[in-house]
């Protein structure tokens, strides 16, 4: 589906005409990211991050396939093959650091993408399905990133695998045998390393499939926009190409400058030095932490230190998973009719002065040692995190009185939209 004024694809020559009749792939691309996709004219740079996430997915797949040509998933040699990649393979250092930092940047852009969605309430009808698929993609990314981090078989790899599979042990009754089954042994070893490698290779392609569904679902209602007002007339939109290909291209250039600065000059800054020590099943590093992008969820995991009906360990695991699963219910927890945070004074306050600081605190505590005062701070922040989504958001969205919305996107941009107001514009959209 698209807006009635979307440009129709017309093949320019015989070859393209042949293609269009037999396999309309160019038409598909044209309607997806070409001139055939009308997009709100007022998108800010926050709308750049979906494209950036897509770029980093492709980058991770390309560099990952290259690394897999030189890596060996065997505990005897895995650590050495990573050094071999960095030292012997032509341009291997570039491939390795691009892949390692690419994972970090993938999460940077995905977090901005998610919090864009939270602030502008992009999850609201009619875009619930886009949001739900997005949360699935995020979960797949977490699994993929975790298993990828195990592959270099350093100390952090090994103990990360031990700890994360240990989460499953908390499940009543089936927990311990489940962990043994996941690892193919009693501790991370060759069997675990091999299956993690296999799945780490597979999951990005599953993510790519989910991304296609995500974009498909997006193209049914069309993109949201910073006002949250739906597209009404043709003057509210511009074709994706060339307007947003150019804008996203510029954003991509800026992102690449920042990214390559890390790859070239700070390649290990986002990693952990202990992962340059080969895995040793007999000695845990004094301070083990996950990769930085898991810090907030790791803080929630560690916030539960007391048994209450259920054991503390199970509470921690449940809370950590719930912290993401709660996002699945957002379209129904947020009851307000207005989407954009710009027109929701109360919602906006709780977003900037509630949720964002709490995420920052959780982020900090997740990287801090498991001792006071960080444990108590994590507990308070965790409580607020769930309070925000389960109590504050439903209440404020029910009681708040939103600011007046612009009549249309065009009015928000130009100050007036006479054509649409006076009914002189093209056919209105059926919503």
């Amino acid at each position: 589906m698209s807006f009635p004024w979307a440009k129709e694809y017309t093949p320019q020559n015989g070859v393209m005409k042949f293609f269009d009749e037999k396999l309309p792939l160019p038409r598909f691309i044209y309607n997806a990211v070409g001139a055939g996709y009308p997009v709100p004219r007022n998108l800010s740079y926050f709308w750049n991050f979906g494209v950036l996430a897509g770029f980093f997915l492709v980058l991770q797949i390309v560099t990952g396939v290259v690394l897999a040509m030189h890596y060996a998933a065997n505990t005897q040699v895995a650590f050495a093959t990573v050094e071999h990649i960095a030292r012997d393979v032509n341009w291997g250092w570039l491939m390795r650091y691009t892949h390692a930092n690419g994972a970090s940047f993938f999460f940077v852009v995905i977090y901005i993408h998610i919090f864009r969605g939270l602030f502008y309430a992009s999850y609201k009808p009619p875009r619930e399905m886009i949001w739900l698929i997005g949360v699935v993609i995020f979960l797949l990314m977490m699994a993929t990133a975790f298993m990828g981090y195990v592959l270099p078989w350093g100390q952090m790899s090994f103990w990360g695998a031990q700890v994360i599979t240990g989460l499953f042990e908390a499940i009543p009754l089936v927990g311990p045998p489940l962990k043994t089954w996941l690892l193919g042994g009693f501790a991370p070893d060759n069997a675990a390393l091999n299956r993690f490698f296999s799945l780490h290779f597979l999951l990005p392609f599953v993510i790519a499939g989910a991304v296609i569904l995500h974009i498909w679902a997006l193209h049914i209602p069309g993109s949201s926009n910073p006002t949250g007002v739906e597209v009404k007339t043709e003057s509210d939109t511009v074709p994706f190409h060339p307007y947003y290909t150019a804008k996203d291209g510029f954003g991509l250039g800026v992102a690449l400058i920042v990214f390559m600065t890390f790859v070239f000059f700070l390649p290990n800054t986002l990693g952990h030095p202990d992962n340059y020590i080969e895995a040793n099943p007999l000695s845990t590093p004094a301070h083990i932490v996950p990769e930085w992008y898991f810090y907030p969820f790791y803080a929630i995991l560690r916030a539960f230190t007391f048994d209450f009906i259920l054991p503390a360990k199970l509470w921690g695991v449940l809370a950590m998973f719930s912290a993401i699963l709660v996002w699945f219910f957002l379209p129904w927890l947020d009851k307000g009719p207005v989407r954009s945070g710009h027109y929701r004074p109360l919602f906006r306050k709780f977003f900037w002065f509630g949720l964002i600081p709490v995420m920052a605190v959780l982020f900090y505590c997740g990287g801090a040692p498991a001792e006071e005062p960080y444990v108590m701070i994590s507990q308070i922040a965790t409580a607020y995190y769930f309070l925000h989504f389960l109590v504050i958001l439903p209440i404020i969205s029910s009681i708040e009185r939103p600011d007046p919305l612009p009549f249309s996107i065009t009015e928000a941009v130009l100050g007036s939209d006479k054509k649409a107001v006076l009914g002189e514009n093209a056919e209105p959209v059926a919503t």
Binding site: V66, M69, D88, N90, G92, M95
Partner: protein, 194 residues
């Protein structure tokens, strides 16, 4: 985004497809420059992606092999490994040398004399890669009791190439003689290959 169509001062109206008076609009220039820069960048990215599949430094480091041939008697051969491929070293008998020199080189598929295929002063030591030039099988004949083919040199069982005592192709599908690698004698009995 308010005025997506307003640009260069020289062009009064710049709706799509309308050209300025000089034929090139500022927007065209920016467009061409940006796409060219991205194109050059994209091509530069291909270099590491292609190059990473070439032999890595540790593989290249294996590219010389030292060989002691002091125990190699006349008429004997040894097999060694050079770049993960077999190499044959044979100390030819006077009869074999004579047989090799008796051939009219112009009648050969890959004309070469025995002299050209050995080092001066060591004409009896023939060093060749044990890799058939047809499709890469290891020819027989380096070990005692193996089939040496119709010309007393090497015989490739895969597709039936016969090499003579100077390891020159004489019969069968192989296009050229067994390759003589780069090597030198560092002493009378020591070879450095590669």
């Amino acid at each position: 985004m308010a005025s997506t169509t307003g640009i260069a001062d020289t062009t009064p109206d710049v709706t799509e497809g309308v050209e300025g008076e000089d034929g090139v609009r500022r927007r065209d220039f920016i467009n061409i420059a940006a796409v060219s820069a991205a194109g050059v960048g994209g091509l530069a990215v291909l270099l590491p992606l292609v190059s990473q599949m070439a032999p890595s430094k540790d593989v290249l480091a294996e590219s010389t092999t030292e060989l002691d041939i002091s125990s190699l008697d006349v008429g004997q051969s040894i097999k060694a490994v050079f770049r993960k491929q077999p190499i044959f070293v044979r100390r030819l008998t006077p009869a074999e040398i004579e047989a090799a020199n008796a051939v009219n080189t112009s009648s050969l598929r890959d004309p070469q004399t025995l002299e050209e295929r050995t080092k001066p002063g060591h004409e009896s030591v023939l060093v060749v890669m044990g890799v058939c030039t047809h499709l890469g099988c290891v020819p027989l004949g380096a070990q005692e009791g193996e089939n040496k083919g119709e010309f007393g040199g090497y015989f490739c069982p895969c597709h039936g190439s016969h090499y003579d005592t100077a390891a020159r192709i004489r019969k069968g599908p192989a296009p050229s003689n067994l390759v003589v690698p780069d090597y030198e004698f560092t002493s009378d009995t020591t070879l450095v290959i590669g």
